[in-house]
Point group: C2
Chain length 366, copies 2
């Protein structure tokens, strides 16, 4: 294939393998797999999930729910506080499929109750310490569930949480601990609700790191990880996967070389990779690792080589003499991103290693 | 206007005012104004420049050059190291307009020389300490210009620099110093080339901060700033503009409130704002300031209020009790971004305060 500019590449075999690992894991635990599709945002990759038997999905916006509804998905949870400004689209969707929404306050419930015209599956979001959105307090939780009881169209479905604080974990051991604590907390809250008479309360958890390192999901009804489909350097650092699982990268042309500074300049910057970074072992910012791309495959990440700085379209790769000698202007390097979701979001198209191209949702269409 | 989701808003009057300030400044100095269009990436905003008499532009990619060529621009510099992989498009463009390219090594010159089929305006990029791309050494510079002399289609046009290190300046005084040093350095190099017999050597500088605070451009042929069209919080911090010049923001629906934490949650995250941040006076990360949006205008930025954290679609606003009481779920807040170029890049459309919508270049089309 002729790569002329920054190109979002995926290794289809690895993507399918990553999907299959989670399909097997959830089948073994006999729980629902409701993968988060915000990572890939693509009908085609969605179909790969469908071929593996997946029928329920998670998305992060009403637009994304519409995009996947149009591809035939009929069981969709929007894992984001209900955006009341899009109530018309929400009602239209809820009229035609099982649409799940999140609530986390009496205010959002009363606004939804007023505006909903179709039945909605309503999850109460639980905040387990990530401090983003969700209910922390048990009394408040009971109040919310009680208030839902009075609303004919708002069907209380269960408790949902995203253990975003897992991304600060320092070890796999800590990740496993967060996972167990998360399940324990949800079960306790489920028990509290049972004593209040709410027998039907599903439990939904979902983040790639804890779900990747854990196999015990007893008591849980569904999981909603997303990033595992491609994995990324952040997940490698957390111990959620190995570099062999990385299934996506950005192919970038080399445009200049600075041997004195041991640097290579690529056409590939913040508008292709995003400004997400991680720290190297010596504390430097890294916007990605670097692999050699040739013959329809990419190499293992190059040692002591990383994207040390990016501006809008430029990327600066810090490397060593032997790599500098090997790489020429016009060559293609593959950048393994820190955060796959944000990188994929910047492109409108995927290209596989066998040169099949397919579109994704527009990065942010009007 | 009915805003239902994150929407890229511009204040047309302020944009036109920002353009006019630079048109007047360059007219007074009798230098060419070659604005960088990577910030707005829009035919419509390009036309506002055209109406002010601008006829030469800067872009950062071959795709962007094509996009603006299609809108009638015929004098375009691609201020990025020539990407030889796109030589076919480069040749097509150069055949139909005055196309400027950057070189910074003998390697890139020899590859270009081999592949070019139409005359190109070739600028040698000078690195004045930003350490990204460009030539630092005078002997090397002479070598490059000499080698261009042998190439019939590669017309040496002049020296071009981007004082990216200006973005680290701590004061307007320092910015002015960088500006003067930059011009001095280019003139010295121009003199060196003259003694070598190269009489025709234009000088091109371009960055928003130094060009905003300076009025003396004597000896310079053109300037290429870009961000000034919208300005942003980074430019305010540098002293390049005031908050009154900020002409762009992202309108975001409020989806949740957490009074105990003094936080408001908006639908607006990394895929709408980018992950560019700056530090507040107390050292906290800020992904943007916040204004009240109503009646087709936005307020001054709210005191002690900023976007303290973002994930893919969520934004967390840290604020105070009085703002929390004032703002309700479903309201629209306007986020003033840290880095306007990266924020605008994430959208495919602009909306003016008078509700006129127009498209921009696709964020990264295949």
């Amino acid at each position: 294939m002729q790569i002329t500019k920054p190109t979002l590449l995926i290794d289809e075999q690895k993507v399918r393998q990553n999907i299959q690992t989670f399909v097997s894991k959830t089948n073994q635990s006999n729980i629902r797999f409701r993968p988060h599709f915000k990572t890939h945002q693509s009908h085609t990759i969605g179909n790969w999930f469908k071929e593996s038997g997946v029928s329920a999905i998670t998305v992060s916006s009403v637009d994304m729910a519409n995009y996947f509804f149009n591809a035939g998905w009929r069981d969709i949870t929007i894992a984001f506080p209900a955006n009341i400004r899009q109530i018309d689209e929400i009602n239209q969707l809820a009229d035609q499929c099982n649409l799940g929404l999140l609530v986390e306050s009496l205010d959002s419930i009363s606004i939804l109750a007023e505006e909903a015209t179709s039945p909605l599956s309503v999850w109460v979001e639980i905040d387990q310490g990530y401090n983003r959105t969700g209910v922390q307090n048990e009394d408040e939780l009971i109040q919310l569930v009680l208030s839902l009881e009075n609303e004919a169209l708002l069907n209380f479905t269960g408790l949902l949480t995203h253990a975003g604080h897992a991304y600060s974990a320092q070890s796999v051991h800590e990740l496993k601990g967060i996972h167990q604590a998360s399940i324990r907390d949800l079960k306790t809250k489920q028990d509290v609700l049972k004593t209040q008479g709410f027998k039907d309360c599903q439990l939904s958890i979902g983040d790639t790191p804890t779900c990747s390192v854990s196999d015990d999901f007893s008591g849980i009804d569904e999981i909603r990880p997303g990033s595992f489909v491609f994995y990324d350097l952040e997940q490698v650092s957390l111990g959620a996967c190995s570099e062999l699982n990385l299934a996506m990268g950005v192919a970038c042309p080399v445009v200049a070389k600075y041997p004195k500074r041991s640097q290579i300049i690529i056409y590939g910057g913040a508008v292709h990779l995003s400004k997400e970074y991680q720290r190297t072992s010596s504390g430097k910012r890294s916007f990605g690792k670097v692999a050699i791309y040739s013959d329809h495959k990419w190499s293992n990440p190059l040692k002591s080589t990383y994207v040390s700085s990016i501006s809008q379209e430029h990327g600066i790769i810090q490397t060593n003499t032997s790599i500098l000698e090997q790489v020429r202007i016009g060559d293609i390097l593959l950048i393994l991103p820190v955060h796959a979701c944000l990188t994929a979001n910047l492109f409108n198209q995927y290209t596989t290693l066998t040169n099949v191209k397919f579109s994704k949702m527009q990065s942010f269409s009007p």
